[in-house]
């Protein structure tokens, strides 16, 4: 972020504490910098501010000036007098102004908050015990913090539909809806799929989809995230787990090179949901629906858990020996993946060097990007493969050169990491000509014919880092333990490396980072645990700057070809 110039700052007083914020900052955000919470429902930092929930009402005053002359009006102490507005103002849509004063704790503000809380609750069902939002519900939280604690409402509550299907992944409970309109604005402003709206009036207003349409875009589940109450629920997560039991692990989405920051919610070794983690430089507070389903690979039926040697199921030791033996042979080619972490790519590259690889390829997965949070490159870490030296140039779409090398008899052994070579353009005949050592997480046509298999872990079961399209180094942590007997990738790679003489043990991630720091200038002085939560932008080596990367524009990313807007 560029540094804000001093004259672009405005200084205001919130609860008698001074704070300077960039021009245009609203009072909620300014107060947040002082650790003062101004409760709000409809306001969301990444959406427009409609100012309709009225929860963020505060008292506002401005320095007084003479109407005629424009001269400041002073009080007896020589300070400029403050003209307090007779009515409360909404903090969300009030921009900080020089000399502005805000009261967030005054009796009037407290009364406003109590009033709005009471109004929000009178027609809200008291079904917290069966509501998925309970535990992360703004209505619960603010009712406790800002409400009166009792109800004066003796009338009948409004009745509305309890189970409306808004789309394939989202279900709506209209009674719980507090009509904040966040979901509507998300669809209009972010997803560009304006399908939601209100029908009917007043307290009977009801959220609905346009007739004949449904909330089916690939970002629909963000509406569930931003819903401050339990009105919108995810069909996948609904009624599965109380949120307070979930362990939240920071992770990175592997769907594409955008590198969406995520949080993996798990309990007792089982993942229940993936939600976006805010990163204003990468994904704001959003993520795709498809990215949220990736946790299903952990317990997928085609998960690779069995070791194999000489084409037969084997013990881990036998499989490892078989792999080590293959690496001693000549005419071996390596095929890596953009799905591997930086650490894995580094070790894989090292392994290829030690084994005297004939060639090293990377399978590319280029599809169309969606312009938002899924880029054209559907792997998270091609940049990492370039930085670690696993590959020298961008991978070509098909592995035809490798195929020709096999046909020409130049390659007799293949070490394949995670990729399916048949899908990548090789033929069955070609693969039958070579011995294959396969490392990976899931079965595919290549693993099916591999002589040796060493199963590895998914992104949810290990630590590591990816370099996204911005050359931002981001790390992920293990959310759940891997399947029984399946080794950590680094452990497996290190064991293979140790088949060669005089090699250190590189199974620990810190050790790998020390080694990378020594060998690669771009990682100098970095350690895994020092990667900040928001990631670290790397200095891009000269030769990697102008490669014809596949990505087009996505949120917060402008390809080198297109000029990034100023600021």
């Amino acid at each position: 972020m560029s540094e804000t110039k001093k004259d672009d700052l405005v200084t205001l007083l919130i609860d008698d504490q001074e704070i300077s914020v960039p021009k245009g900052t609203n009072v909620i955000e300014a107060a947040a910098q002082l650790n003062i919470e101004i409760p709000h429902y409809c306001y969301h930092p990444k959406l427009s501010a409609p100012g309709n929930c009225r929860m963020c009402l505060v008292e506002m005053g401005m320095p007084m000036r003479d109407r005629g002359t424009g001269e400041p009006i002073m009080d007896d102490d020589g300070k400029q007098k403050i003209g307090w507005m007779p009515r409360p103002a909404i903090a969300c849509n009030t921009a900080a102004a020089p000399g502005m004063q805000i009261k967030t704790q005054s009796p009037m503000v407290k009364e406003c908050q109590e009033g709005v809380m009471e109004f929000l609750l009178i027609n809200h069902p008291l079904d917290c015990p069966i509501c998925d939002q309970a535990g992360e519900c703004r209505l619960q939280e603010f009712a406790t913090d800002y409400g009166r604690g009792y109800s004066r409402f003796v009338e009948n509550k409004n009745v509305k539909p309890k189970r409306t299907r808004l789309g394939p992944r989202v279900t709506l409970d209209d009674e719980r809806c507090i009509l904040c309109s966040r979901c509507i604005r998300f669809c209009q402003e972010i997803a560009d799929d304006d399908v939601l709206g209100f029908v009917d009036r007043g307290s009977y207003s009801t959220l609905t989809c346009y007739p004949g349409k449904e909330l089916a875009n690939n970002y629909s589940l963000n509406t569930v995230d931003i819903c401050p109450v339990g009105a919108l629920t995810s069909n996948d997560f609904r009624f599965k787990m109380r949120v307070w039991f979930l362990k939240e692990t920071p992770s990175i989405c592997t769907e594409s090179s955008v590198g969406v920051n995520t949080e993996v919610g798990s309990r007792e070794g089982k993942i229940f949901r993936i939600t976006p983690r805010r990163n204003d430089e990468v994904n704001d507070t959003w993520m795709s629906d498809s990215g949220r389903e990736l946790y299903k690979q952990v317990e997928a039926e085609n998960r690779l858990t069995a070791y194999r040697a000489s084409g037969e199921e084997a013990s881990p030791d036998e499989a490892l020996d078989s792999g080590r033996a293959l690496l001693q042979r000549k005419k071996t080619a390596f095929v890596g993946s953009g799905h591997l972490s930086v650490e894995e790519q580094f070790l894989f590259s090292k392994l290829a060097d030690l084994a005297g690889a004939v060639r090293t390829d990377l399978v590319s997965h280029i599809e169309e990007g969606d312009g938002l949070l899924i880029s054209a490159d559907r792997t998270p870490n091609v940049r990492g493969a370039l930085l670690t030296g696993l590959i020298e140039e961008l991978p070509s779409q098909k592995l035809s050169a490798l195929g020709e090398a096999i046909d020409a008899g130049e390659v007799e052994n293949l070490v394949v990491y995670r990729e399916d070579l048949l899908a990548a353009g090789l033929t069955k005949e070609q693969l039958e000509k070579v011995s294959i050592l396969y490392l990976g997480t899931h079965q595919n046509d290549t693993s099916a014919i591999a002589d040796t298999i060493l199963p590895t872990l998914t992104v949810f079961e290990k630590s590591g880092s990816f370099v996204n399209q911005q050359f931002r180094l981001q790390r992920f942590m293990p959310a759940v333990p891997g399947p029984q007997n399946v080794g950590n990738d680094l452990l497996v790679l290190s064991a293979l490396i140790n088949a060669f003489p005089d090699q250190e043990d590189l199974s620990g991630i810190d050790h790998v980072w020390q080694e990378m720091g020594k060998n690669l200038a771009v990682f100098e002085d970095l350690l895994f645990l020092r990667i900040p939560p928001e990631g670290k932008l790397l200095e891009v080596p000269e030769k990697l700057r102008d490669l014809p990367y596949a990505e087009g524009k996505t949120l917060h990313f402008y390809p080198a070809a297109a000029k990034a807007p100023a600021g």
């Binding site: 409609p50 309709n52 109004f119 929000l120 007043g202 307290s203 009977y204």
Partner: protein
């Protein structure tokens, strides 16, 4: 129809006169469009000055000075300026604009074209409420007539100025009368009022362009200001309360209807007894809502004391209150839309409030929490009170709910729905309490043993 002697008819001059029809020929025969012909030869800036000089205040309800409204129009942006006529007359008790539209549509069109020229509007709209299908048809026909005579459309009266008027029908929502809600509706959206700031119509109005939104009666008045000159116009009425005002009287009077008076020229008592023929036989005056249902109710057996804007002390009975913007405000209510609702001693005030609350609960747009939930809550309370389960604490609860709405919403609907409740329970607290006490007494034989048993 004979005009009442107290009246001074400017806007209603021709309306209801024998032989006066709404077609353009009749309008022209009565001097119609002469003012427009003169107006288009003048300097628009001077015309806006005339309006300022006239002191003309908006007739929609808020009484905001029209000249000031036009002055705020952002002329520097280079964006087109729009003129919107607010014909969404939906305040209960108000029925003046409909008369103008139905009986003298060309007066409105001439007023609009004069106004459009004065502010150099690129285009003008009439937003007419959905419940006025006939009015919309009449306006369409009248605009077509005027277009044929070159008073509307391209090169008005042979000048370089062109302006089209479009009629847009609402879909039946009270909130469309709120100017920013109206603009949203005109843009084809839900009529959710906009936040001010930044969306002041004069700067970011229709299609984010500067827009003047004026009431039907106000726009008709513009024509007369241009006709007689701002200074002459300002001589009618009282300083700060200039011109005439159409009052719509409904409720318990012998001759309800619409009447036009010099502002402040008569008192509420004169209106009720002299103009409207008094109350039905044997009845006594109980209360008056002087400016449409959202205005605060005034009680008959009460003294109204205080200081006027100009500093004069006053001590009025209800009948003494002069009917102008400032006097009614000083008495604790407002002139509003000019809908005077008269209630005699047969009126059950709880029922009256229940009726008003039902209306506002139905019409709240639902955008802001306090108004959305509060208006329905108040309705539910009054409905329950009327259906036989009033409680002693209801009167305070009603007031408290209303207090939690007013001043805390995006638009003035919050006040509009809170003021009736606030004023009814303030002025007629005794009636609300009595209702509850009566109910408790009547139902006590069955209740008391039950209570005794639990003890």
């Amino acid at each position: 129809m004979a005009t009442t002697p107290q009246e001074k008819r400017i806007i209603l001059k021709n309306i209801d006169q024998d032989g006066y029809t709404r077609d353009i020929d009749c309008y022209l025969a009565n001097g119609g469009y002469e003012v427009l012909k003169q107006t288009v030869t003048k300097d628009p800036a001077d015309l806006c000055k005339e309006i300022e000089t006239s002191g003309l205040r908006g007739r929609g309800g808020a009484g905001f000075p029209c000249g000031m409204k036009w002055k705020f129009l952002d002329r520097k942006s280079g964006k087109p300026i729009y003129l919107v006529c607010n014909a969404d007359e939906s305040e209960p008790g108000t029925f003046k604009d409909r008369q103008i539209i139905h009986k003298d549509p060309h007066q409105l069109i001439e007023g609009m074209m004069c106004s459009a020229f004065a502010i150099q509007a690129a285009c003008a709209y009439i937003y007419i409420r959905g419940e006025f299908p006939e009015g919309a048809k009449i306006l369409e026909e009248a605009i077509e007539e005027a277009r044929k005579k070159n008073f509307v459309g391209k090169n008005i009266c042979g000048t370089k100025y062109s302006c089209e008027i479009y009629v847009h029908r609402g879909a039946g929502a009270y909130i469309c009368g709120e100017e920013t809600g109206l603009i949203e509706s005109l843009e084809g959206k839900r009529a959710y009022p906009r936040i001010k700031p930044p969306f002041f119509p004069a700067v970011l109005g229709l299609y984010q362009c500067p827009t003047a939104v004026n009431n039907v009666e106000t726009l008709c008045n513009v024509k007369h200001v241009f006709d007689m000159g701002g200074e002459e116009y300002a001589k009618i009425g009282k300083p700060g309360n200039t011109g005439t005002r159409i009052l719509c009287v409904s409720g318990h009077v012998k001759k309800p209807g619409y009447y036009e008076f010099e502002v402040g020229s008569l008192t509420l008592g004169q209106l009720i007894y002299d103009v409207c023929g008094g109350l039905p036989e044997g009845r006594t005056l109980k209360a008056v809502i002087p400016g449409g249902s959202s205005a605060k109710v005034l009680r008959a057996d009460e003294r109204y004391t205080g200081k006027t804007k100009s500093g004069e002390e006053f001590d009025w009975s209800l009948e003494d209150i002069p009917l102008d913007f400032d006097s009614l405000m000083a008495a604790g209510s407002m002139a509003g839309s000019g809908g005077v609702i008269v209630m005699d001693d047969t009126t059950d005030m709880v029922e009256a409030l229940g009726n008003i609350n039902a209306f506002y609960a139905h019409e709240s747009c639902g955008q802001c929490t306090p108004c959305r939930e509060g208006s329905l809550w108040m309705k539910k309370i009054t409905t329950r009170m009327l259906e036989g389960q009033p409680r002693l604490e209801d009167v305070d609860l009603l007031k408290s709910v209303a207090d939690q709405i007013a001043g805390r919403t995006i638009c003035a609907f919050g006040e509009a729905c809170a003021w009736p409740t606030q004023s009814f329970v303030l002025k007629f607290r005794d009636e609300f309490i009595a209702k509850a006490e009566k109910q408790i007494k009547e139902s006590s034989p069955s209740r008391e043993p039950a209570l005794a048993e639990t003890e």
